[in-house]
Amino acid sequence: MSALTPSQTVGPYFRIGLDWPEANRLVGADTPGQHILLRGQVLDGDGVAVPDAMIEIWQADAAGVHHGGGGDAFRGAGRCGVDADGGFVFETVKPGAFSDADGAHAPHLNLIVFARGLLTHLYTRVYFEDEAAANAADPVLGLVPADRRATLVARREGDHYRFDLRLQGAGETVFFDV
């Protein structure tokens, strides 16, 4: 066993090293599945926009299969530095459901928040409001107190899904110990 390297904050200047062009577009025109926009805003404990956060997502494809490699048509991963209003957007496909030893998993994206002020990144998940039956059976959502589950569910809003991240305080997003 080797001892783990500790985490440190991404700091305010991560764009120097981590800004990739179009890293928030996971799809091409011919990527199979329902193409969606995921929009959201990162807010602090006072409800003030966090202008220097970075969001990464990781998800299955429309058939519920995880890829990850560069040779795949759909890697399933993206990155977006937020704008001055804490806003982020991803262009992707709605992920499919899948099952494993832990049960039947509702369609979801995995999401990480990095920011100045966070010494260790925060893990969460994005579920979809139009998947109520699958959400009700999801083994991870089932671990979340019922009155906080709504913080993990993206709402349909115009041409996109909306998922805001409240880092602290009223309506605080549920984060996971992964």
Binding site: M1, S2, A3, L4, T5, P6, S7, Q8, T9, V10, G11, Y13, F14, I16, G17, L18, W20, D44, G45, V48, V50, D52, E56, W58, Q59, A60, H66, G68, G69, G70, G76, A77, F98, D100, A101, D102, H105, H108, N110, I112, A115, R116, G117, L118, L119, T120, H121, L122, Y123, P139, V140, L143, L167, Q168, E172, V174, F175, F176, D177, V178
Partner: protein
């Protein structure tokens, strides 16, 4: 099922670290909820050579017409998981301040000169044994507003993906003997002193290049899948 060992207490710093003032309004108040490692946590994106930018492994020669100012250094090491298995063909992203302690970023208002020949961004891919190496200049310390006369110790930021979403890591490499380390709430946010010291690189005389560059070694250990997953009982 849990497919990774629990991160030991005191290794990944808690976000609720009041001495680090930026955490005050950003650290969640609720405890994180432990979840099983489903397929989506125990696999993850992989980036290799296809993600590299030109000249990314030598930060001193990225800008045509000149070379970066400062003490030239080689930074190298091995990336492995906690079971000693190499992280092969894996992208390592780095970024840093210049020799004067200034970042090439609009948000950095520090009254220190920018270097037109230094971007501060690099990328490398590990080899089959998990080893990486890049050439850069030693970054300067810089003041920040955390508390009176606060200075960040010299550091280089690192970002790594590992084999799984659960292994994602962003961290900072420090330099041996830096007197600012014990004064820095970001570094000191790691409660375990032995864990903290794993972020301090080692001067590596063997890898220095005479008449050219000093060298530092920084090994990185990421979370790795257990051979036998375990069922958590509460």
């Amino acid at each position: 099922m849990r497919h990774f060992a629990v991160v030991p207490a005191g290794c990944y710093p808690p976000n609720d670290t009041p001495a680090y003032r930026s955490s005050e309004k950003r650290a969640p108040r609720e405890a994180a909820i432990r979840i099983p490692h489903t397929v989506s946590e125990r696999c993850g994106p992989h980036y290799g050579a296809e993600a590299l930018r030109p000249h990314a492994a030598d930060l001193t020669t990225q800008v045509a017409g000149g070379v970066a100012q400062g003490q030239r250094i080689i930074v190298h090491g091995r990336v492995s998981d906690e079971h000693g298995r190499p992280e092969a063909n894996a992208l390592v992203e780095v970024w840093q301040a210049n020799a004067a302690g200034r970042y090439r970023h609009d948000g950095d208002r520090h009254d220190a000169p920018l270097d037109p020949y230094f971007t501060g961004a690099g990328q490398v891919v590990t080899d089959a044994d998990g080893r990486y190496e890049f050439v850069t200049i030693e970054p300067g310390a810089y003041p920040w507003g955390n508390h009176h006369n606060a200075w960040r110790p010299r550091h280089i930021h690192f970002s790594l993906f590992g084999q799984a979403w659960a292994a994602r890591l962003v961290t900072q490499m420090y330099f041996p003997g830096d007197p600012l380390l014990p004064l820095d709430p970001i570094y000191m946010g790691i409660a375990d002193g032995a864990a903290r010291e794993r972020l301090v690189s080692a001067f590596d005389l063997e890898r220095t290049v005479p008449d050219h560059a000093l060298a530092y070694r920084f090994d990185i250990v990421l979370r790795g899948r257990l051979e036998t997953p375990w069922e958590e009982r509460s």
